[in-house]
């Protein structure tokens, strides 16, 4: 049973517009959430994270929103740029040192 779900396998967005990637989780013990970005033939690279004590964290063009009651988080990228085309993984962990669980990923295509 998937504890971290990314229900959109792919997403296409026009350059300059906002990209919104969604993630749902089922384990209420998760309290730390991360987004990773992966280019082909490279390992995932850390993008941004958020802990459950916050509902928003922003870093430049990237903002992550957390809705604990809905067990939902989203990553907003604005404005979207061609270099943002990649696979984005949502991940979650619990404070007591549990492993980090990854979602299946969403492939983002930024269209010129």
């Amino acid at each position: 049973d998937q504890q971290v779900k990314q229900n959109s396998p792919s997403l296409s967005v026009q350059e300059g517009r906002i990209s919104i990637l969604n993630c749902d989780y089922t384990n209420s013990m998760f309290d730390y959430f991360l987004w990773y970005k992966k280019y082909p033939a490279e390992g995932p690279t850390f993008l941004i994270s958020i802990s459950s004590i916050k509902d928003k964290n922003e870093d430049g063009r990237f903002t992550v929103f957390l809705n604990k009651s809905a067990k939902h988080l989203s990553l907003h990228i604005v404005p979207s740029q061609p270099g943002d085309s990649a696979v984005y993984f949502c991940a979650a962990s619990a404070l007591r040192g549990d492993k980090i669980i990854f979602g299946k990923g969403t492939r983002l295509h930024i269209l010129p």
Partner: protein
């Protein structure tokens, strides 16, 4: 140095071969991880070493044998693999030991991944 280096990048082996995957980091990270990733699937945790001791084994078959010779190196020894073991093997490290959470936003558990070793078992 902010990288995790994995070698080899590609490995093809037969089912009777013995080979090893290597991982190295010089960031002073105290936890190191092996993940396995198959096509269109998320990375799946295999092993975690914390302070050079094996802290998690996710019920991985014994044909995969991890080794942590020191805090900078992590190996994965492979023996008698099956074709279904073909996958991308990712090494990662994080600043703190596996159970050491310095605080919710400390970044202690943020993983830095290597580029991976793509393994094909014939």
């Amino acid at each position: 140095d902010t990288e995790v280096t994995q070698t080899p990048k590609h490995l093809v082996m037969g089912m009777t071969n013995k080979k090893s995957l290597k991982c190295e980091q010089h960031m002073g990270h105290r936890a190191m991880y092996w993940y396995k990733q198959k096509a269109k699937k998320p990375p799946e945790l295999m092993f975690v070493y914390s302070y050079e001791k094996l802290s998690i084994n996710e019920s991985v078959p014994s044909r995969f044998s991890p080794e942590c010779p020191n805090s900078s190196l992590l190996n994965l020894h492979l023996h008698a693999l099956q074709p279904e073991d073909s996958a991308l093997y990712l090494c990662a490290s994080s600043p703190s030991g596996y159970s050491g959470r310095a605080g919710p936003d400390s970044g202690a558990n943020v993983l830095t991944f290597g580029a991976g070793s793509r393994l094909t078992v014939l």
